[in-house]
Symmetry: C2
Subunit: 451 residues, 2 copies
């Protein structure tokens, strides 16, 4: 592939993974990246730890600056530049420099849309008051950390019981702030089944978070333009600071306006090579729709690890090579102080909706041999198809060393293993790492009996 | 299956797993277990941690006593009883009560041989002196702990650079004893390739162990019947206590005398259902030969986790059910203070001997996101078949959180995955657990390029 011009919209995980891959595989390509924030290639997943003070400076979250991309990779990454329009017929994008509001057109041979996701922020009374924060870009994290450092809030209310909600609750606990968490669900973590979610709810309470379950956000009370309370359908919760973790949606409005077909939840529809349905236009990361490998249906996930993989696949193809992204399992993990939570595949609600008949098995075990110091609790849940015994999903809640075991379940899901197959997997064993039957195999043994 | 009489020889992992499974599946069976030591169902793998003082009492290593088997499971487990002869024609075994030397015959309908392994103890000058210890039964661990507690040795010499050698070196370090370790190999851990073994050698030196590599044991100096030094082909190493970790061999002499066919390294040959070639005689655990799933050749491994699995398979079949044990990958893990070591599949030496053409890839990464507190080093090595890219083996050396990742590689080996397949595995990611590309996937990406 000769000299061609690649334009990338979005300078984080997917965009810069793709750009870097194109640079390696196609030394002659011209690569231009437009990023509306002031930063490239930062770890959005690291923001809760920066806010919580486990990470000292925001710079630590940046893996490569625009200068590094320019000097080491000959990638022209322009921050504070927003693409405001895509003209797919003329193969060009209109760019606005956010510092001087100048606009101009840039042409492309190939375009990659990697605009990520945006947090869901409901418009409701008081929602624009000071002291209310979302968490998305590095900038948003810097603002939140500054508020915590300088305003020294005493009472935080976290709205949302998903990953961001849990991680921000942890961050506030670490900062010594009194934390309340509001969630609509009967338990936190609605990507787990309620029985496993209940274990996470318990873990949150154990670390000192006050939980308000089954309550929905209705607005905010303010005082002098600052938030003073969160209003739910049940109560007013006094708050010096509010953090919204109500999920994200694909940032696809630009693509939509350009007539690029969207799919589930308005995520951009791509083929296995990360190409959209429009010639010359590709997309990757938190703005695209994925295939769920177990349901075999469209799925939306916003996760750095998926975005990086998709970016590499897009970059390989953009450089004239060949690569496909097979799909996802919805694998995810989080930590709340000493508790670990992980899940993969489908959960009961999914399975019922899809018409699967399945067995559901939960076991309690230990993270290490029972006699070994630091041995902690672990609960493993397996969902398997009736009759065939095929693994369909898994969930883990436990103490140190519990969560990473989800990767064995994810790998088994990729392989199409049955719970019977899993019993005799030759997993490693020594007392510091596991009981003699690893908890995932103890669960598989019970699942076989249930099948 | 009606009332029948099962005799089990050996009351630890394989024997008692099988006995327990038979009890569950066949309530009417009579189950008689003969165990020559005073204990049933103890964790031999836990002995180094008992000797090192991380585990307070030997009782903690016992998962079930003979009394528990008798009262809760109606299993007649007789300790201090040794089977001294098997008469397969008459379907009976001769039993000796070790406390009064009485002998008698017991008949069986089915016999399970679960005699385990015995440590290799070379006969050489001084080898019977006091202060020289092997580690095999719970009794041997109790003797060693007592010696360390009471004699307060200052200088320990560990002979052997395998799992037991490393774990005992760690135990002695924890006890504040000056430790030397003698190994024949150029590096410790000959089940790893030398480049990865070198990392383990470094780790041992880092925790204060003095290593003598490429030296072989030639004998012992003694003084008043006590060991005073270990003699190698290069030097005399002063020692107050000596621990031998020179590997084990299958304890198959009883089976051999009974004419039961043996295989590799004199391990008892069994079919996939754990049946020997003699009618009514089964075998499981450290005394049997296994199939290596990658080399597809006989393999010998002595590990509690394999013994338990084989015990359950044997028990299922003995109770009239159907189960097979597919084979092993040689997965193993150990810990030396803050360093973790794991391996699975074939290593370079195996691959060369088997005529495989392969690529070999090593990467350095981190156990957590680089910016996350406690992020440690991890080295991952992958061996993959040339052209096909099929994964053939993996090795990991690193700090906290490194080793359990070997289970992803083991599961991938069971699945027959290529390194290309591994790149897009949907493994979990959050900064406390992994960089955005898990180290095993970083290794897979490099391996694909090497392929």
């Amino acid at each position: 592939m000769g000299k061609q011009r690649l334009v990338v919209i979005g300078g984080d995980a997917a965009g810069m993974s793709a750009a870097s891959k194109v640079r390696r595989d196609s030394p002659e390509s011209e690569i231009l990246v437009f990023e509306r924030s002031p930063h490239t290639s930062y770890s959005a997943c690291g923001l809760p730890y920066y806010v919580g003070g486990l990470v000292d400076s925001a710079e630590e979250l940046i893996s490569r600056t625009p200068e590094a991309f320019r000097d080491k990779y000959r990638i022209d990454a322009r921050v504070r530049h927003e693409v405001v329009e895509i003209d797919t017929r003329a193969a060009r994008v209109r760019v606005r420099h956010l510092e001087n509001d100048q606009e101009w057109w840039e042409s492309y041979d190939q375009l990659l849309i990697a605009t990520g996701a945006v947090p869901f922020c409901p418009e409701m009374p008081g929602s624009r008051a000071a002291g209310i924060f979302g968490l998305s870009t590095l900038q948003s994290g810097i603002r939140l950390r500054k508020a915590v450092d300088e305003d020294k809030p005493k009472r935080a209310v976290v709205v949302g019981g998903g990953y961001i909600g849990l991680e921000m609750a942890e961050a506030m606990v670490i900062r010594g702030i009194e934390v309340s968490l509001v969630t609509r669900g009967d338990e936190v973590m609605e990507t787990l089944d309620p029985d496993m979610g209940a274990l996470v709810s318990e873990a949150l309470e154990d670390v000192g978070v006050t939980l308000y379950r089954g309550e929905s956000l209705e607005g905010f009370e303010t005082s002098d333009g600052r938030v003073s309370a969160v209003l739910t359908n049940q109560r007013a919760l006094p708050a010096d600071i509010v953090i919204l973790g109500m999920g994200v949606r694909p940032n696809s409005s630009l693509a939509k306006r350009a007539g690029i077909p969207l799919g589930l939840r308005d995520a951009i529809r791509v083929n296995d090579r990360m190409k959209t349905r429009v010639e010359g236009v590709w997309a990757a990361g938190d703005c695209v729709e994925s295939l769920h490998l177990i349901s075999r249906r469209p799925f939306y996930v916003a996760l750095g690890t998926v975005a990086n993989k998709q970016g590499v696949v897009a970059g390989t193809n953009l450089a004239g090579g060949y690569a496909t992204f097979p799909g996802v399992l919805g694998t995810a993990v989080t930590k709340v102080c000493k508790y670990e939570v992980a899940r993969t595949g489908l959960h009961e609600k999914d399975l019922r909706e899809l018409g699967f008949e399945f067995t559901s098995t939960v076991i309690q075990s230990r993270t290490r041999a029972g006699y070994y110091p630091g041995s902690g609790r672990i609960a493993v849940k397996l969902l398997a198809e009736k009759k065939s015994g095929r693994l369909l999903g898994g969930q883990i809640v436990g103490e140190e060393g519990a969560a990473k075991r989800i990767d064995v379940l994810a790998t088994a899901l990729h392989a199409g293993f049955t719970v019977q197959d899993m019993i005799n997997l030759d997993l490693c064993y020594a007392p510091p790492y596991s009981p003699v039957w690893d908890p995932v195999q103890t669960a598989a043994r019970k699942a076989v009996k249930a099948g």
